[in-house]
């Protein structure tokens, strides 16, 4: 089981003083200290782990964020940032001796700049609310994580969130132009802006996906795109996972990058159909949902092409949406896949690895063996275009030892992903969930190069500690240099 850094008794003993200091910065109901009121914050979307925070603070202004961080920095108090708390990897899991900073009150769309095709929003604005704010003029914000009605753009920046359309339209990092952020020392910095490719090192690129370890985002500038004229979906069933996988490769080899391309395996298809009854074929081993967007002429052309390619790959069934309702119905099953699987089993555990697509049949075969070995079922949904797997492991938390077995099964799946040339996480983040698996993918030298970035941003390691990296090295230790004959090269340069 997961170990979090041991709470600092000294800090715990100063709780009242810390609460008072926070109240001096954020008046009224912006500081939550009562035990019962802290409970809603004790976990995020990874509900297997719970820990009430020491205190919650909900700032409303950048000046407050800066004052809180600056005070905590001076006092050596840890801070865990939180958006909507939808993280599936425990990125916002509180610490017993840390202040939890909720950014929900930063909920304003600051400006929509249609001329430059961008929107400036506060971090607590939900992903979908950005699209809502710009859709009257036919625009939208492209990354669409499945939690988009609830998750906030600040959290999306922290996690570099994706979505079903990210093969064509990119992840958060490809759609953010600039941020305002506050460092742990309380310094307010602007990275990027309303233009492309800011000068100097791409610090914005490192901030996106840094899981709340490097700074707290207080404003985000995103690109907005004109909504496509039409979107249509196809539902294609295959006799085997291999043939469906080959079809995906052939579609891409033909130069087609669909707006979305999802695959479901037999258990996932059956679970989804039983739940939403949208007419998914039940006699197939794999189902592809392919969405095309663009002008009608493009959709028509590509649908014909994909029908031809799937025919060559032995497709057993093929349906093409003829209305928005039908397109929505094709997606309904996929979008309900998690709750549908949830009906098969008291609990499920959602994994998130990426593999080279060509290894899919092998990975699914070995996953079936692991399923047998661990005695737990698994259903697979898969962002087929980019090789991002979401195995759903079925278990019952009330049966002693099953959660542990589910986690071990999950870890084996992720090890398998890395073994075939893939990665531990495609879009959910490392958080606490995959933290201890990091050495499967990176050597200690690789990890040290990453952790020194943390030292450049937050040398005291006060911001969201215990996430992403399996071992916390003190920065002085990481910064150690090999000194030749006692001479320090370039004595005029500052050392950190």
């Amino acid at each position: 089981m997961l170990k979090m850094p041991a709470p600092d008794a000294l800090v715990l003993g100063r709780r009242e003083e810390i609460v008072a200091a926070l109240r001096a910065i954020v008046p009224g109901e912006g500081v939550i200290a009562q035990a019962a009121a802290l409970r809603p914050y004790e976990s995020d979307g990874l509900t297997a782990y719970r820990q009430p925070p020491m205190v919650v603070v909900l700032p409303e202004t950048v000046a407050q964020v800066s004052a809180i961080l600056s005070w905590c920095h001076a006092q050596g108090v840890k801070v865990v940032p939180r958006g909507a708390g939808t993280s599936l990897s425990g990125g916002a899991l509180p610490l017993a001796d840390a202040v939890l900073m909720g950014m929900g009150k930063f909920n304003r769309v600051v400006e929509v700049d249609y001329n430059n095709r961008l929107a400036i929003v506060q971090p607590g604005v939900t992903n979908l609310a950005i699209t809502r704010a710009v859709e009257e003029r036919g625009f939208y914000y492209a990354p669409d994580p499945s939690s988009q009605i609830a998750c906030t753009i600040g959290g999306n920046v922290a996690e570099n969130s994706g979505g079903v359309h990210c093969l064509k339209y990119g992840l958060t990092t490809n759609n953010v132009l600039g941020i305002e952020m506050v460092t742990m020392a309380g310094e307010v910095l602007r990275l990027g802006g309303r233009h492309l490719d800011p000068a100097g090192l791409d610090l914005l690129g490192v901030m996106v996906g840094s899981e709340g370890l490097l700074g707290i985002v207080t404003e985000v500038t995103v690109r907005i795109l004109p909504r496509s004229e039409t979107a249509r979906a196809m539902l294609v069933g295959f006799p085997s996972v291999e043939s469906a996988g080959q079809c995906v490769a052939d579609i891409i080899a033909e130069g087609i990058i669909p707006a979305g391309m999802e695959m479901m395996d037999r258990p996932a298809i059956h679970a989804a159909e039983a739940f939403v009854k949208v007419g998914y074929p039940l006699d197939v081993e794999a189902l592809l949902i392919v969405e095309l967007d663009g002008p009608a002429a493009e959709c028509d052309h590509l649908i014909e092409e994909i029908a031809r390619i799937s025919g060559l790959n032995g497709a057993m069934t093929s349906r093409i949406s003829t209305s928005e309702e039908e397109r929505a119905a094709f997606w309904a099953g996929r979008k309900a896949a998690f709750p549908a699987v949830g009906r098969l089993s008291p609990d499920y555990y959602c994994m998130d690895g990426t593999i080279p697509r060509r290894r899919l049949p092998e990975v699914l075969r070995r996953m079936a063996e692991l399923s047998e070995q661990h005695g737990l079922g698994v259903a697979n949904v898969f962002h087929a275009g980019d090789g991002n797997l979401h195995p759903l492991i079925l278990y019952d938390a009330n049966k002693p030892g099953e959660l542990e077995r589910a986690e071990e099964f999950g870890n084996d799946i992720l090890r398998l992903c890395v073994e075939v040339g893939g990665v531990l996480t495609g879009e959910h983040g490392v958080g606490v969930e995959k933290r201890d698996l990091m050495p499967e993918m990176f050597s200690q030298t690789d990890l040290d190069h990453q952790q020194r970035i943390k030292c450049a941003f937050d040398p005291e390691l006060l911001l969201n500690p215990g996430k992403v990296f399996p071992t916390l090295h003190r920065c002085a230790e990481l910064g150690r240099m090999h000194v030749h004959r006692g001479e320090v090269p370039f004595p005029e340069l500052p050392r950190f």
């Binding site: 430059n116 492309l196 490719d197 914005l204 495609g426 990091m438 190069h449 005029e492 950190f496």
Partner: protein, 389 residues
Amino acid sequence: MHHQPTSADDLAAIITDAAARGARCEIRGGGSKAGMGAPRDAEVIDMRGFTGVVDYDPPELVLTVRAGTPLAEVQRLIAGEGQMLAFEPFDHGPLLGGELGQATIGGVVAAGVAGPQRLTMGGARDHLLGVTAVSGRGERFVAGAKVVKNVTGYDLPKLMANNWGRLAAMTELTLKVLPRPRATSTMVLEGLDHIAAVRAMACAMGSHAEIGAAAHLPGAEGRRALTLLRVQGFAPSVTARCAILPDLLRDHGAARLLPEEKAAALWDAVRDVTPLADAPTLWRISLPPFSTPALLDRFALLGARWLLDWAGGLVWLAHDGDATEIRSAAAMAGGHAMLIRAPEPIRAAIPMQHPRQSGVAALEARVRRSFDPAGVFETGRFLDMPHAD
């Protein structure tokens, strides 16, 4: 001294030794951009010993290649599979008085080079998935991965793209490659001034025409100004999208289709900045497109020449005037100005990159020190070393 490592071990030994000697090293591919930045006297680590493709499986959309491989060779290889580097990198050689064909893949990524398509398809940063490199510590490390979707750990490939050899020497790069569009058409509007051009381009960009690239070449002797809109994709789609433009842009002028060969030559000229290749001093200003007209108004009076890319969000400005004035105009417009080419005395005094806000500059310096504590890669090229301030 000129080092020519052929393995990561060689490279690590060279860097470790340089750190111990207190030497400074410039990481160099083909040297096509060596003329940028301040004159300097550093040892050169020539990366052209690292060549060749490590892995390329076109349907996976992933290419792993050694850093010193010539850009032209990479582009030829993937074009053979109907694919492209969507950020449209180009060779700076001719622009800086050198030969064509020297640029390497590692060099263009390390310099964040991107062409007209950057507007809609992203820059080098958006297509660099993974890296193997040796940092200023003389340590070999891996960052990112070899799959198109990955959020494991900090996104170090973003830092490696556009690091200008200041953090690490990349030996191997994994890039996302995309299908090359099957059809390309370019619509043109003639005779617009820069204000009208920026408006017309914004109008097209906000439409269903899904413009891939938008540029503006001002009029010159005997030639009218050209505003170019590139539409790419499958033929039926390209036809349909071009067809909506004349009506959509009615208020801006008469949009017409350009003959394919002529269009291709114009896009090459925009990407390679050939119309301004004779200018002694050349700036590259990235800014919000709608801030461009006011910025140009100011420099038009001073006799500057320019061309616009990225729907007006990129200004190539040929102007010998006061650098401080250009930098402050770019900053006021919400952007930044990079000095691409200038006579040596100017490059010795004016930093190539736009200076950053002090907090950001300090953070950048800390990040650089974390990769390169001994300052092996601090060659003086960027005029922002602590002792040079």
